[in-house]
């Protein structure tokens, strides 16, 4: 059970200090989650903290590879406009 940060991450540091398991670390070209340490915040918080503060839609995936913040869910920008 672990989340994953992918290449659309802008390395903004918002998630790193929030992780209760200290699973998030700075790396190049973007931050990464240590899958061994990540608990998806189970037992600590109702919502996984990294995905709760992340401003970039699609940058954090669950273990099935599904984005926790799908396109349009955070900015409200219509998907058609995002594609354009």
């Amino acid at each position: 059970m672990a989340l994953e940060i992918i290449e659309s991450c802008t390395s903004c540091w918002a998630c790193q200090p929030l992780c209760p398991s200290k699973a998030i670390f700075e790396a190049k070209p973007h931050f990464l989650i240590d899958p061994v340490k990540c608990t998806e915040c189970a037992g600590d918080f109702e919502d996984p903290q990294c995905a709760t503060i992340c401003p970039i839609e699609g940058a954090i995936l669950n273990e099935d590879g599904v984005p926790l913040n799908p396109p349009g869910s955070l900015t409200g920008i219509p998907i058609l406009k995002l594609a354009a």
Binding site: W13, D47, L74
Partner: protein, 501 residues
């Protein structure tokens, strides 16, 4: 809102103000301030139109994280071609940031102010922000520190802010009504949850207002920034201005929304427009009755370095800074000398101006019947003079001349019509842009203007004028206004206006 030369009351203004030279209306903003606030801001380039020609500021990008989303912000960082808040090229750890600040302060002794403005929210990164402030207050006590914030975490951080040299805080307050806020802020991060909609806006507003009150109670100066978003909060900002003034903010800075589609923001991609120059000015005027308004904000990048309107950030990239050997105690002595010389120059300008004011008051002011106000654009490189070619101007300062005097009301950016080469390839379309930028102005004063733009300016109803090259701006603006009065140009339109009304 009167030009000092015809306003006797200004002769009694507290010391530390500005001369009639420079960009003009510092008196407008600074006269109303109590002496202890003027003392704090007279050498702050962002708060005084005069000081920004003499003193420089820098921002360090140590605070990348943010705890809210605004519809005018896209969280991308690396674009050196853009100058706007939230954009930076290089992110710094606090130790690097301090090294950079010391390098800049030693190289540009005019640098008096260090701000942390992002690119996220400085108080959403409290460890990084306060680590930077702590080291700077120890190593460089001659630098003023300031911070800007969206206010969400402000109440939790006021105690910590008060510990350092921080006497200026800017809070961005775009609304005091959650219904308005829900159209500006899609979400906030609050108590380990992402909160959306009206509830999010209500929490943010409450925190901002609480933070403002706490800072004022601590004696920390608070400036309020507001982004003017037509159709969303434009009418509402007058109320915001009244409320923040009542709570003790000392300055209100209403800035135009920047929303180009290529920035990829919600507003940019959904076609939300920014205000026109006229709309912005009208709102600033409407708020001014209640509040000191800031007119010369250049909406700097979160890593800007140098005087306002210039960016020397490229000279201080981290790889260059690492090569520099800085002896700050030595630099501090040199800086003190430079600051003393600047203060002396400002003081002599102030005295020269006061004697001019006294001369006018002895001679008496010629009473002229009230005539309609006129907007006049000015091309200048600084020093309060008309000293820039029309075609080289990257921005125009806009003055309003009236029978009351001349007052600075803002600046408008453009692309220089002619970059100075032999051929100005796209000259025509660039000129069209400049003509649009000058909309509403009836004259443009510059040191020189070419034949081709001359004709088009005239055709657009904007009288080009190169006769006042190297003259002080306000004197020239009033001379041109007087010429217009004598020529009967000021009566004509009043009649038209009256007919229309």
């Amino acid at each position: 809102m009167q030009l000092p030369v015809i306003n006797n009351a200004v002769a009694e203004a507290p010391k530390g103000g500005c001369s009639a030279g420079s960009c003009g209306s510092t008196d407008d903003q600074m006269n109303h301030l109590p002496e202890h606030i003027r003392e704090k801001v007279f050498n702050h380039p962002c708060y005084s139109e005069e000081a920004h020609h003499y003193f420089a500021r820098m921002h360090v990008a140590v605070a990348p994280a943010c705890n809210i989303q605004c519809h005018y912000c896209n969280r991308k960082y690396d674009c050196a071609n853009e100058s706007r808040p939230g954009v930076v090229s290089e992110l710094h750890h606090p130790v690097q940031a301090v090294k950079k600040v010391l390098a800049v302060a030693a190289t540009i002794p005019q640098m008096t102010v260090l701000g942390i403005a992002g690119p996220g929210d400085p108080l959403a990164n409290p460890e990084r922000t306060f680590e930077t402030f702590r080291m700077l207050s120890e190593q460089a006590p001659d630098i003023k520190l300031c911070v800007s914030t969206n206010g969400l975490s402000l109440p939790d951080n006021v105690e910590e802010l008060a510990k350092y040299n921080i006497d200026h805080v800017t809070i961005t307050i775009n609304c005091v009504d959650p219904n308005v806020g829900s159209k500006i802020y899609p979400w906030i991060f609050w108590k380990n949850k992402r909160i959306k909609g009206r509830e999010a806006a209500a929490i943010l507003i409450e925190q901002q207002q609480k933070g403002l009150e706490m800072l004022v109670a601590k004696g920390i100066l608070v400036k309020v920034n507001s982004v003017m978003i037509p159709g969303v909060n434009d009418k509402h900002l007058e109320e915001v201005s009244k409320i923040v003034k009542a709570k003790g903010a000392f300055l209100h800075n209403v800035m135009p929304l920047i929303s180009e589609a290529e920035h990829g923001t919600y507003y940019g991609l959904t076609g939300q427009r920014g205000p026109t120059h006229e709309e912005l000015q009208a709102l600033q005027d409407a708020c001014e009755g209640d509040m000191n308004m800031m007119r010369h904000c250049r909406q700097c990048r979160a890593d800007a370095v140098g005087l306002l309107g210039e960016d020397r950030g490229a000279e201080f990239t981290m790889d260059k800074v690492e090569q520099m050997e800085i002896n700050y105690p030595e630099a501090m002595k040199m800086r003190a000398e430079v600051h003393a010389a600047i203060n002396e120059e400002l003081e002599s300008k102030r005295i020269a101006k006061e004697s001019k004011v006294q001369l006018v008051s002895i001679q008496g002011v010629q009473k002229i019947a009230a005539t309609r106000p006129v907007l006049i654009a000015v091309a200048t490189k600084g020093n309060g003079l008309i000293n820039e070619h029309f075609g080289h101007a990257g921005e125009f300062l806009i003055y309003e001349a009236s029978s009351e005097g001349a007052r600075f009301i803002g600046h408008r950016k453009t692309t220089p019509y002619c970059e100075g080469g032999d051929t100005c390839g796209d000259g025509e379309s660039v000129l069209d842009k400049t003509l649009k930028v000058l909309a509403g102005c009836e004259a443009v004063l510059c040191s020189k203007v070419g034949y081709e733009p001359w004709g088009q300016l005239e055709a657009a109803g904007i009288q080009p004028n190169g006769e006042h090259a190297m003259e002080p701006i306000e004197d020239a603006v009033l001379k041109v206004y007087e010429e217009m009065r004598v020529a009967g140009k000021l009566d004509a339109k009043v009649t038209e206006h009256q007919k229309a009304a």
